[in-house]
Symmetry: C3
Subunit: 394 residues, 3 copies
């Protein structure tokens, strides 16, 4: 085996069993890599392989080298919430599996993986192409909505980073599955993130992040994707469930396309102030009521899509609103499908609304020059502003 390939179960340099503390073993492997790769031009990184198994993590892994790939052989998702809700005494297995890490820090930290390297200027510290592939990070126990929950974080990138890959992973029972700060051009793709408070949080500022082809399943307190100050984020081809919510703050020229959304609460896409020139197109949005007995503070006036920014485009989407009367909040409300809360020149075209009760597109009084083209019937518009144009669906 090449010197740059480590298997946590067979590496002889570990001071502890990987089953007892895989975090400590990984830190020792990273120390070994750093001891071996010692100059600017001799640091290709390494791969750490996690075979299938149940591994406890007692010590946070600190990654301060580029090009580290941590790879398993299975995302190992099992619905822990279903286990909690059912009698599992007869089940064959009750834990997630595959290459399965149980986050059980005893080191005073709350993250399984911290990625950080300081430097001045930041480019000196910037980490490149760290990869997480095909294993499972399990917060072990929690209860809905997982925020504040157990407070655990799966992966936290704390300093500037470029070209990371998080692919094929499983995440379950974490307050935060993935937090990236200062991300430039990462792939977050093909992951199964479920029963977490928030799935993906992009903090600081980010550039052209890709969130594609994931299952993103969060409960009613957090977000499937949260981004602040993002530029050019692409959220495409995901299945975003249960509180299927994408929330963008001061984020520009992002794209939310070809996704399947399901949510028991309003706010499937939320654009907060400063969010401009974003495209929301080709999505199937379903607002259902499976868990709507729980109030998360967003009533039916909030909008399935909530726009509070200018120059955004909403085109070619399908909206299904299917909520039983008793779950509508406040009682008797006419639910809002799209709320244009603020901003100018938002553009809605070729959207179709299907609802089991009368439903509306609503323009707040402050909004100007909204265009609503073949996206609602005349009776479906409630405009508190007179500064808009509408071409009604016949």
């Amino acid at each position: 085996m090449a010197q740059t390939v480590y298997d946590v179960t067979t590496w002889t340099g570990a001071s502890v069993s990987p089953y007892a503390d895989i975090g400590k073993v990984m830190n020792e492997i990273i120390a070994d890599i750093k001891a071996t790769q010692t100059s600017q031009t001799t640091r290709p990184g390494a791969v750490i392989y996690i075979p299938p198994g149940h591994f406890d993590l007692k010590t946070r892994v600190v990654i301060d080298i580029s090009y580290l790939q941590i790879k398993g052989s299975g995302h190992g998702f099992l619905s822990e919430a279903i286990r909690d809700e059912s009698d599992s005494s007869q089940w064959v297995e009750t834990l997630p599996g595959g290459s399965h890490i149980r986050v059980m820090n005893t080191d005073g930290h709350s993250e399984a993986f911290l990625i950080a390297r300081s430097g001045s200027p930041a480019s000196v510290g910037r980490l490149n192409s760290v990869e997480f592939r095909d294993f499972c990070i399990d917060g072990v126990e929690s209860s809905k909505p997982y925020i504040p929950g157990n407070g655990k974080t799966g992966i936290l990138a704390q300093t500037d980073n470029d070209a990371f890959r998080i692919e094929g992973m499983g995440f379950v029972y974490l307050t935060h599955a993935i937090i990236l700060r200062g991300a430039d051009a990462p792939y977050i793709t093909n992951n199964f993130i479920a029963e977490c408070g928030s799935c993906i949080e992009l903090l600081g500022a980010s550039q052209v992040v890709r969130v594609t082809n994931n299952f993103l399943i969060s409960a009613w307190a957090g977000s499937a994707v949260f981004a602040e100050n993002a530029e050019g984020l692409l959220i495409s081809g995901n299945s975003i469930l249960w509180y299927g919510s994408v929330r963008l703050v001061n984020s520009k020229r992002c794209s939310v396309t070809a996704n399947k959304f399901v949510s028991s609460w309003q706010g499937l896409v939320i654009l907060e102030p400063g969010s401009e020139e974003n495209l929301i197109s080709g999505n199937q949005f379903l607002r259902t009521d499976t868990e709507s007995s729980i109030d998360n503070g967003k009533d039916d006036y909030f909008g399935m899509v909530h726009l509070n920014g200018s120059n955004n485009t909403v085109s070619a989407n399908h909206f299904s609103y299917r909520v039983a009367t008793q779950f509508i909040r406040p009682a008797g409300a006419v639910p809002t499908i799209v709320l244009v809360k603020g901003g100018t020149r938002n553009y809605l075209a070729s959207n179709n609304i299907v609802s089991n009760i009368p439903a509306r597109i609503v323009l707040d009084a402050s909004t100007t020059e909204t265009k609503i083209i073949y996206s609602a019937e005349s009776s479906q518009l409630q405009a508190f502003s007179s500064n808009y144009s509408m071409v009604a669906t016949p």
Copy 2:
């Protein structure tokens, strides 16, 4: 090597050569896993690795454990149909390759892989996160349209399942490439499924299945994707060919977006009764005549897209109809691009039709409140119902 990593070619517990019967070897490995992993909390599963090679499968593999990953090093597709149609005597290789399994059951079964575990209630048996990655399942010989063909099935999941992954696989010459019954949240992505009767069949009922980024190539008798009672299926970013046909029965809130379709027959998307609130958007549809000398029972009145359900959305698609006159059935027919066969409030907007001969959108007499907005010129509509609205493309 960790105890949970098996290589079919080096595992010493096998009673037979994996080249002679890889199925029997895999069953023996599964038995070994079960003998080793014996309690509810000690069943992380394992990975079975298939290196490149030609492996015969004489015995069906029965998977009744969660978290099993079967992984190869190559999807190994070779066009077997081309081989049949050409003189291959001078070819360098005449078989598919990579990690190549030849399905040659002598055990009286017709599946290569059966995934099933019984339990009462079903949650007791439910299997999680079984994975198939990067190998080739080859039905060895067959002839078009592969139904009934050799009757062979690549992967059959017979009981409730969650979070499966079928990724990067090759499938060829199978009557059924993949059948999943009772699927919850599987990934079927990045596969090369070709020269099969049907590519993907979702039976029973399914939840939020993902069919993304695949090549799905079936002949004229089956479907690229068939689903019954599906909720929230996402079919996105696929290349769906030759009889590029997605057929949904009683399926709701599904999404068919950003795909490339090519078909020599009508019925590229078929929504059968009970199929509602589905979105068909951003697809490039081509109806060609490469193989149109064969009649598969769907004449040109059937529609490239055939809608028989309510509240569906068809937006922002491009339709190309390029069929030579002699292949139009019945002779002299004006072909139907979209047939609204039944249902109410189907919504078509911003679609573009290109055709080498006059072509039409047709509304059957039973349909009501169809909206046709900038999707056809006036002369391109044939309405047997008067209960519709049209805004004609100028």
Copy 3:
């Protein structure tokens, strides 16, 4: 280890260290595979594994067998341009990494990998299912715009090929990252191609190529994707940057959907003569001016999208034009968002234009029957032809 699994660092048949010339070692491995696999039905191919490390390539690898998978453990991208532009004396690492190949041919060739097999007819030579996965091909040094640059090519497929996979790779500092000639049904997915002259070039003719989920980052001289005579190419879900340019010549029924584009120059999508029935839908297009001080010959009249062909569809896109006045060329120009340069019956619907200065859709005099529906305000159209229809955005 199975006989079909090679690790370049441990294979004992090599005449040279893989660190000194990985190309020569791979050629020797390929010769070994050919010596071992000697009949039409015993050629499943093999996998060549490249662990993390810095490997020099002095000799071009010639692949003339099917089913070869070359696989690494990390795409290892590092921005080399940033390195050139910054003081990197304090950086921890200054080279790309992961499974990192430095293209340094001393054999008189300019490609790292040449894939070719002759035969008559071509089907005799046709290669199947060659795969490149998860490693880095680095041209070592170059300077923008990388054309002509160092003249190096990462992967060149010179003869007919079927079902290739190029996935998860990193490419940097190459004049041409990937060139495929005569491609049938390849996957080019999940790659990080950056700081290259051209990213993907599809020459000759191609069938149903898939370019999905990639980062495609080229400079101002080349293309992110160039195709000639393509049929059914699908370009979906990519992030296409800086000179984010897709250029199609005589290409038909292709699809450019759900991508995120950023470019400092005009011509984000260019359809040249013979390009027909293509779909451009659900894309977020940004024209910015980060590098617009450089003139690449395309002035602001060229169009962000430039259509010179018939029967194309542009639907449900968002266009953002954000260029400071001093960068507009020629000075004082009203920039063109979509130029319909030639052709008949091009169809634009439900597109939204956002611009910091007045901007236009322009129809050249030769164009006929263009439809412009809710894609521009009346004042935003400049028609040199009178043969068009417009429904203006209110």
